[in-house]
Amino acid sequence: MSAVFRREILSYFTSPIGYIFLAAFYGFSAFSFTSNSLKFGTTKMDGMFQQLMIILIVLIPILTMRTMSEEKKNKTDQCLLTAPVGLGGIVAGKFLAAFLIYIMGIAVTLVYAVVISAFAAPDWSVIIGNFVGLALVGAAFIAVGIFCSSLTENQVVSAVISFIAMIALYMLTTIGDVVPADFIEKMLPDVGAVWRTVITEAIVIALTAAIFFLFGKRSGVLIGGFIVMLVLGLFAAKGELVPKILGKLSFWERYVGFTYGLFDLSNALFFLSAAVVFLFLTVRVLEKRRWA
């Protein structure tokens, strides 16, 4: 793990990517700091921290786009995967390297706090909380980016997918508000929740079985069918839960609390588990490629 970590750090600074990421982050955060805090003569920094999340969505794909896809394209993964190291170690090394560069970027916010303290005493506990929140949301985003990078050999495609995924995670609350939660209820208005669920599931199972037996017996069809079963089952049984669940998964909803100075352990754990889940999925993707 440490070998991969050191190589990654080195490669961020032998290629322009590390410099671009840091320069862009320093530049944009400085604008944001000036317009939100300095211009209004306030010691509050929550405006800047809220804007920084948007900046992350644009910049983190740049940081993570090459992590896995470049290895695959240059066949250097042959060297990593045939070395006596576990896949977990490789992914963790890459994650930690990207995370270190990221921390080097967001550390600048502490400098801004010091700038403020020249004028008036800032609320340090709130600022530290903000900083921790930003570090956590960044860790989760980096894990998402690395996962997207493991899906493709093409760096541009990798950057675009991670961009889309991060925007979706950011916007989940909005998406939840728009999703027609009760569309199955409207189609089957007169039966109870139990029968509605049974009918929906029966239709999904029948369709999946038909596709499975008619168009080729693939395990992907079964897995897809199972996921559709879960999702539609949820809609049928308790449609009003869907926007709530999406809201709970929304990165923005979880992050914004930190900027108000609320340190909620559940939010911190949410970002940590998101990072772990996506890193685990990355390992699975690498594993699956081996078995393909």
Binding site: S2, A3, V4, R6, R7, L10, S11, T14, S15, N74, K75, T76, D77, Q78, C79, L80, L81, T82, A83, P84, V85, G86, R290, W291, A292
Partner: protein, 317 residues
């Protein structure tokens, strides 16, 4: 030691490797011969744990690559078809990275220096890999495989892209390494495998076509009954002379080389050797033989011969 038992790899319906078994003892160089797409690289990728097999076992020094991959991998040095080089690193940085990656315990500086001397890359040690020529990249790839002094070396077409002098150097090096390592090397060049290996396995379409020591295989594949001869003298008379020899089945006239000198492709009955007859008769008639050689078999001929066990036309291209 490498032991492979009933190894198969299927990609959908295609069988890239189909139920192959072989064994390479310590201090043995095993040659893997086969045309492109025969399954050589796939087999090597399975042995090194890069991909998994569909069924069967691969044991490296008695450790199953699927059961204890980390232990098995620590005993292997692998040079893939395309050397896995990070182009943005210098040779020094790269080899140090590999050293750390393999968790090597040997003294770092002397070990890396020894390897560089061995594959002759010490004078490019501080250069960026991006800027090296193909031959040097190949050597850095080989150096990478040697880091940590693994028991087993798996080399996928190690001499591709090298110039003739380098090819000879690398072959000598591999022979030297073969004394105290188990080496598996693949190639699609018969003469290369013959020059280096103790044992040859011929593989085609995922199946082992022949598994034999080099001498036996060479005898099986000998082609002394097909000759290419360059003779000075009137074309018509020479052709008649050759035709009149015992056991000659066919004479083709090849390219003209200077005044009154032609190349002839002579095919005699299998198992017969007409070289002495030809020499004596030509000498009696005053025709000068400027060159005589057996025609080399192409890989296709070898497979056809091994699988069908009889002579094949058109081996001299």
């Amino acid at each position: 030691m490498i032991e492979v038992q009933n190894l198969s790899k299927h990609y959908g319906d295609k069988k890239a490797v189909d139920n192959i078994s072989f064994k390479a003892e310590d201090g043995e160089i095993l040659g893997f011969l086969g045309p492109n797409g025969a399954g050589k690289s796939t087999t090597m990728n399975i042995l090194t744990g890069y991909i998994s097999s569909t069924s069967g076992k691969a044991l490296i020094d008695g450790t199953d690559i699927l059961e204890d991959p980390i232990k098995a991998k620590s005993k292997i040095g692998y040079l893939p078809e395309l050397p896995p080089l990070y182009l943005d690193m210098t040779v020094k940085e790269y080899l140090n990275f590999i050293y750390d990656l393999k968790k090597c315990k040997l003294p770092r500086n002397t070990h890396l220096k020894d390897i560089c001397n061995l594959v002759k890359i010490d004078h490019v040690y501080k250069r960026l890999i991006k800027n090296l020529s193909k031959g040097y990249k190949q050597r850095v790839g080989l150096a990478q495989a040697l880091v940590g002094n693994p028991n087993v070396l798996i080399l996928d077409e190690p001499t591709v892209g090298l110039d003739p002098k380098q090819i000879i150097e690398i072959r000598t090096l591999i022979k030297k390494l073969g004394r105290n390592h188990t080496v598996i090397l693949s190639s699609h060049i018969l003469s290369e495998v013959q020059a280096v290996c103790d044992k040859i396995i011929v593989i085609n379409e995922g199946k082992i076509v022949a598994d034999d020591t080099e001498d036996n295989l060479s005898r099986k594949l000998s082609s002394d009954h097909k000759l290419i001869v360059r003779i000075e003298g009137d074309q018509k008379k020479v052709t008649d002379l050759i035709d009149s020899l015992a056991n000659v089945e066919k004479v083709d006239i090849g390219a003209k080389h200077g005044d009154d000198c032609w190349e002839y492709r002579i095919e005699s009955k299998e198992g017969t050797d007409i070289r002495r007859d030809l020499f004596i008769h030509c000498a009696q008639k005053g025709f000068v033989i400027l060159e005589m050689r057996s025609s080399e078999l192409s890989l296709e001929d070898i497979f056809l011969r091994l699988t069908m066990g009889k002579s094949i036309d058109g081996g001299e291209d």
